[in-house]
């Protein structure tokens, strides 16, 4: 998980400092009290820590949601397959639908214990971003996603790496026929 605005990232990017330099003077620094203080959740200066009971509860909730998500994911992939068939037959707006579904999957699947599905969906989005007309091996990606989603638990480790590597290889060498037809037309 990337906390991109955390300490590591702030060492490199300092837009506020750049702005201050441009303005030629120091900015106003506004101290903001903690929410714990303003809402009376803790006394002044007392730090809060994560509650282990809540951690357990969250873990339980996520487990339940993971089971439900498997069905949701399979339904998403069915929609994606239908959209792809539509795209192949020349319905242009279904292309956006494929991207939309893949974007949704990549944002959520990892949280529901399906990181490989999320990574395949991320690749689908990337293929669309990189090549707006010719989408390399898109059918292979959708097939792989469909297959992976049918497995519980998902493959991980070396097998997952192999699946992703194979999709990358296919994308490098084989453009998608539907996209190719459109690019030509």
């Amino acid at each position: 998980m990337l906390s991109a605005l955390g300490k590591g990232a702030s060492m490199q990017h300092k837009p506020d400092v750049a702005m201050r330099s441009l303005l030629g003077g120091p900015p106003e620094v506004v101290p903001v009290p903690s929410i714990a203080e303003t809402k009376g959740l803790a006394t002044e200066g007392a730090h809060m820590r994560m509650d282990p009971r809540i951690l357990t509860r969250i873990s339980d909730v996520v487990s339940v949601l993971e089971q439900d998500y498997t069905k949701v994911l399979q339904s998403h992939i069915s929609d994606m397959e239908r959209a792809y068939i539509g795209w192949k037959s020349g319905t242009e707006d279904t292309r956006a639908k494929i991207y939309e579904i893949a974007h949704d999957i990549r944002g959520v699947a990892g949280t529901f214990g399906r990181p490989l599905s999320g990574q395949i969906a991320t690749r689908i989005c990337a293929r669309f971003d990189q090549a707006p007309k010719v989408i390399p091996a898109i059918e292979d990606h959708i097939d792989a996603l469909n297959h992976v989603a049918s497995l519980s638990p998902e493959p991980e480790g070396a097998f997952a790496d192999l699946v992703l590597k194979r999709l990358d290889e296919l994308s490098d060498v084989r453009p998608d026929p539907a996209g190719e037809a459109k690019a030509g037309g």
Binding site: M1, L2, S3, A4, L5, G6, K7, A9, S10, H13, K14, P15, D16, V17, M19, R20, L23, P26, P27, E28, V29, V30, P31, V32, P33, S34, I35, A36, E37, K39, G40, L41, A42, A46, H47, M48, R49, M50, D51, I54, L55, R57, I58, D60, V61, V62, L65, V72, H103, D104, R106, G107, V108, A109, G110, T111, F112, P115, G118, T122
Partner: protein
């Protein structure tokens, strides 16, 4: 140190994905937070924010008609906003530098990459609730103060170079100790 009770918080979720909304709502409820407001895009989120003044905003990045960056910008700059310093956590599937910089420039408090780890979300919420913060206000920017660099013009409370520096390896372990033959492991 006290264990975090987040129950009294009012949190606004602005997210266009139904699954993500469901997940976030369930996670917040597991944290005993029940005052949860939900909007499907930035425009509705802004309206709900102005109406309800939540303690924390959790927003997606890419949305239409108003995205999370614009939403953050509006919250930070709206003249009639009673709390422009509200913590804003942005969840985004876009990890590219330009998106991160855009989020920073709009004034988000935290930028978390999707897929969101629930442990990270809880940890960030506890940290945001627990810690006071400093904001920077200039004519063109209002957002968290993230300065870390040495700057002789700035004498503010967050300047890291004013704090005691950690010891270097050489200070902790003198060089002659490293060179001492007895410390070199042999067969």
């Amino acid at each position: 140190m006290t264990e975090a009770s987040l129950a009294p918080l009012r949190i606004l979720i602005v997210e266009d994905s139904e699954q993500m909304r469901t997940l976030l709502e369930a996670l917040l409820e597991a944290m005993s937070i029940t005052d949860i407001l939900i909007a499907e895009d930035g425009e509705k989120g802004l309206a709900l924010y102005m109406e309800t003044a939540p303690d924390i905003v959790i927003t997606d990045g890419a949305m239409a008609p108003m995205d999370g960056y614009e939403l953050t910008n509006h919250i930070r700059t709206a003249p009639d906003n009673p709390n422009p310093y509200v913590p804003i956590i942005m969840l985004s599937g876009h990890l590219e530098k330009e998106h991160v910089e855009k989020a920073r420039a709009s004034g988000v408090t935290e930028y978390l990459a999707k897929p969101v780890s629930w442990q990270t979300l809880y940890e960030r919420l506890v940290s945001i609730v627990s810690n006071p913060s400093f904001f920077i206000r200039t004519p063109t920017y209002l957002g968290p103060d993230r300065r870390r660099e040495t700057d002789e013009l700035y004498q503010g409370p967050l300047e890291k170079h004013n704090a005691p520096q950690p010891k270097t390896t050489a200070e902790i372990l003198p060089l002659d100790a490293i060179r001492r033959p007895s410390l070199i492991r042999t067969k």
